[in-house]
């Protein structure tokens, strides 16, 4: 019998890190084009945001590289993929979905390492949803005629897809699954800061024996994205990212005849009525804005509290913030991880400073942030006026602005008073009020008594400056099809 350990004095949770041995990183990654790895002419370093550890050298794809990728996609489209029966395409998608499930832990660890999100989220949200998207669209591949009866759906061609860094693998799944189900081929560019899970996904494509060129993955910064958008061989662009870049893309595509879907920013209103289940509403508010460090386009970044419950609600919210565990993304007990990049951290800091200057009252729970890496404490602003920048601009960080309202009409008016319209949340125990509100919210998704809940069967997309086109569900097929009208 070994020596008895003494009982510790207090209950500090011991570190519970998820092992990273399951991930084997290559020192350098090329471009995945036509089923082959192309040597890059230029590279940059991708980091772990938790401590700025360099993880790998990543290719900066040039215009020539983009051309090669689009050509590979065109060839694959012409040489079989587009004419393959839907049931055959489905087999590949089902295979990809199953492999993703089998390798879920590996992908989850890598996602947290490269992106900074807590492992519990990549493990319990990103990976299961990514696999679910492939399963779901696999099911549609041989049923397109039934989805759009008498309209003779046909694939568009080559889809150029540009995805963001907040849900790297999940956004890849949102883009690739419907594109392939509809018979298109793909050139996908992951975000500059989070390319690793997309590059690991190439190994899944190899395992699934997807024909070469059907999916091509090229990495790089905005220049690569611009070359992809401008390439004449691309028939459709799907972009998820910032509103500024989205506007730029729309301008560049004007008159080219390329199809376009945009999923852009948001400034969602989370509206809490005084008859709600209060403790659960607090959980929903926390999940709405601190989930994935607030790096969520549909994050509930504006909290509208009915004045009659403003005080207990804010008290409970502040108390709840003190229990959030901020720290190592790979620790299984972490609730809030690292900010994705230095650039994003600076943007958050700048907007938070503006909030202080404009006169809002800031609350941050006492929490010790790691010294290395990119970190920002969960933040609540109270006394926020509708005119403040923190109530108008997308912060894309763990920062909540609290505003108040008195009547349902006022809630609707204030909630809709934004250039964005991606999502909204309504908290009330009254079913009729939920329906009344949902009819009036100018937002693509309205959640009732929940927030940030995603499902592949449900269409997702925005009003106004939050973009156009829908991803997910039957609606998500349409952007990847042309019809004989």
């Amino acid at each position: 019998m070994t020596e008895l350990q003494p009982i510790p004095d207090d209950w500090t949770y011991a570190p519970a890190p998820e092992g990273r041995d399951i991930v084997t990183l290559q020192p350098r990654y090329g471009l995945y084009v036509g089923g082959q790895w192309l040597e890059p002419s230029e590279t940059y370093t991708t980091l772990a945001p938790r401590d700025e550890e360099p993880l790998a050298e990543i290719a900066q794809a040039t215009e020539e590289d983009v051309d090669r990728a689009v050509t590979a996609a065109r060839d694959a489209f012409a040489n079989g993929w587009s004419s393959l029966p839907g049931s055959e395409r489905a087999k590949y998608l089902f295979r990809i979905a199953r492999i993703l499930q089998e390798r879920a832990r590996e992908f989850a660890v890598l996602e947290s390492l490269n992106g900074g999100k807590p492992i519990k989220e990549s493990r319990d949200v990103d990976l299961p949803l990514a696999a679910a998207h492939f399963f779901y669209y696999a099911g549609w591949a041989d049923k397109l005629e039934y989805a759009f009866p008498n309209r003779r759906p046909k694939p568009v061609g080559v889809a150029g897809q540009i995805i963001p860094w907040n849900f790297p693998l999940l956004m890849l799944a949102w883009k690739i699954a419907p594109a392939l189900a509809c018979g298109n081929t793909v050139v996908l560019k992951p975000a500059e800061t989070t390319p690793l899970t997309a590059l690991l996904f190439c190994d899944v494509l190899r395992q699934a024996e997807l024909p070469p060129g059907v999916v091509n993955i090229i990495t790089g910064d905005g220049r690569t994205g611009a070359a992809l958008v401008d390439h004449a061989g691309v028939d459709k662009i799907a972009f998820t990212g910032s509103t500024d870049v989205g506007k730029l893309i729309q301008r560049r595509l004007a008159g080219t005849g390329k199809k376009l879907t945009l999923e852009l920013g948001g400034k969602a209103a989370n509206i809490v009525f005084d008859d709600c289940a209060l403790d659960q509403a607090v959980e929903g508010i926390v999940n709405g804005i601190y989930f994935n460090q607030g790096h969520v386009c549909c994050a509930g970044s504006r909290l509208f509290a009915q004045e009659s419950i403003y005080e207990p609600l804010v008290d409970k919210l502040k108390h709840r913030l003190t229990t959030l565990r901020v720290g190592d993304p790979l620790d299984k007990n972490t609730d809030v991880g690292a900010i994705n990049s230095r650039m994003q951290l600076e943007k958050i800091e700048e907007l938070v400073a503006s909030g202080r200057e404009e006169g809002a009252e800031i609350y941050q729970p006492p929490c010790r942030l790691p010294e290395k890496g990119y970190w920002f404490a969960p933040t609540v602003f109270t006394n926020v006026a509708q005119s403040y920048r923190i109530a108008q601009e997308e912060i894309f960080g763990p920062v909540l602005s609290v505003l108040t309202f008195r009547t349902p009409e006022e809630a609707v008016e204030k909630a809709n008073n934004t250039p964005y319209g991606l999502s909204a949340g309504v908290w009330t125990e009254k079913g009729s009020r939920i329906l009344w509100m949902a009819q009036r919210m100018r937002a693509g998704v309205v959640w009732a008594n929940t927030f940030n809940r995603f499902d592949p069967t449900s269409p997702f997309g925005g009003y106004k400056e939050s973009g156009f086109g829908r991803e997910g569900g039957l609606h998500g097929l349409e952007p990847y099809l042309t019809f004989d009208e």
């Binding site: 070994t2 008895l4 500090t12 011991a14 008859d275 289940a277 403790d279 659960q280 125990e429 008594n449």
Partner: protein, 312 residues
């Protein structure tokens, strides 16, 4: 004797002491939160700490028709020294028995600081006339019980006679004298989390020192969402009145892992102040040996078979 003031139906709660609005509970979100807390990964020192706390807060329980003085004495001995081979393992908080067996238990634990809890008020159904329930409490206290675990009248509660439920808690509290009062809601019979919350606040209004989930005779018993629901009500009472009410999870907790999940729930809902036998209890019988087994594993790195832990 305190009486619920006469108010329209549905408003029987007294105005003083001030209590939180009853409000409502969203079942989906509550269960989600409980499930997410159950995923906390408690390792190494933190696990050992939790296991040790689980023992210190245990109400070691036997509530069988077949209980005898001998059985109860054996249980009480176990309560004093749960693991004879490891003196660093603490005693449990209390031994919980039927009133008739209080003297046997009392005699064995004399001088150890371990409390004797007796179930009363027509346990487990509570379907008896109020005077008999109160007599039950008085006799248990006379027999030496330090703590009384009463049951609420679920029949009255489910038929909307909240004032009767409240009134019985008030009378029981009075009959307890210095004994601590734990009020068992039997949540498995209440049907909804809204009812659980309402019953928790009702019991606290009536003077409960502790609120307790279940008798252990009905399934489901102390599920994590039910515990969370009650803990949130306890938190509301504390935040709005400063009163610290204890919480006891009882029924269906058989594994050390479940006990740790319950402790995490308390830790992250009410904070470390509640992690003491004065404010938290785990009702358990077979749970104790699993905890002992896990402690041995944590300390030595190896599991030992069940034959190395006493059955009492």
């Amino acid at each position: 004797m305190a009486q619920a003031p006469a108010l329209p139906q549905g408003f029987e709660l007294p105005l003083e002491p001030r209590l939180p609005r009853i409000g409502s509970v969203d079942a989906v979100a509550l269960e989600e939160r409980a499930a997410s807390l159950a995923k906390r990964s408690i390792k190494k020192d933190a696990k050992l700490w939790a296991l040790e706390l689980a023992i210190r807060t245990t109400d070691l329980t036997t509530l069988e028709g077949a209980d005898t003085p001998g059985k109860v004495a054996a249980l009480a001995s176990k309560a004093i020294r749960p693991d004879p081979s490891d003196p660093t393992v603490p005693s449990v908080a209390a031994v919980c028995v039927y009133p008739n067996l209080v003297p046997s238990a009392k005699e064995r634990v004399a001088g150890t600081g371990i409390k004797i809890a007796a179930v009363a008020t027509g346990f487990p159904s509570g379907q008896y006339p109020t005077p008999i329930k109160i007599a039950d409490v008085r006799s248990a206290v006379e027999l030496g019980a330090d703590e009384i675990d009463m049951v609420i009248d679920r029949g009255a509660f489910l038929s909307g006679r909240y004032a009767k439920v409240y009134d019985e808690v008030v009378q029981t509290k009075e009959a307890c004298g210095d004994a601590h009062l734990k009020v068992i809601l039997e949540t498995g019979e209440l049907g909804t989390y809204d009812n659980v919350r309402r019953a928790t606040l009702l019991a606290i209004a009536g003077g409960a020192d502790f609120v307790k989930t279940s008798t252990g005779k009905i399934n489901p018993a102390a599920t994590l969402p039910v515990a969370l629901c009650m803990l949130e009500a306890v938190r509301d009472v504390y935040e709005q009145t400063g009163r610290r009410i204890g919480f006891k999870a009882a029924g269906g907790i058989r594994q050390a892992k479940q006990a740790i999940q319950h402790l995490v729930l308390v830790h992250e809902t009410l904070g470390p102040d509640w992690l003491t036998p004065d404010l938290y209890r785990l009702g358990a019988s077979s749970l104790l040996n699993d905890i002992l087994m896990q402690i041995r594993k944590q300390k030595t790195g190896v599991y030992q078979g069940p034959d190395y832990f006493t059955l009492d």
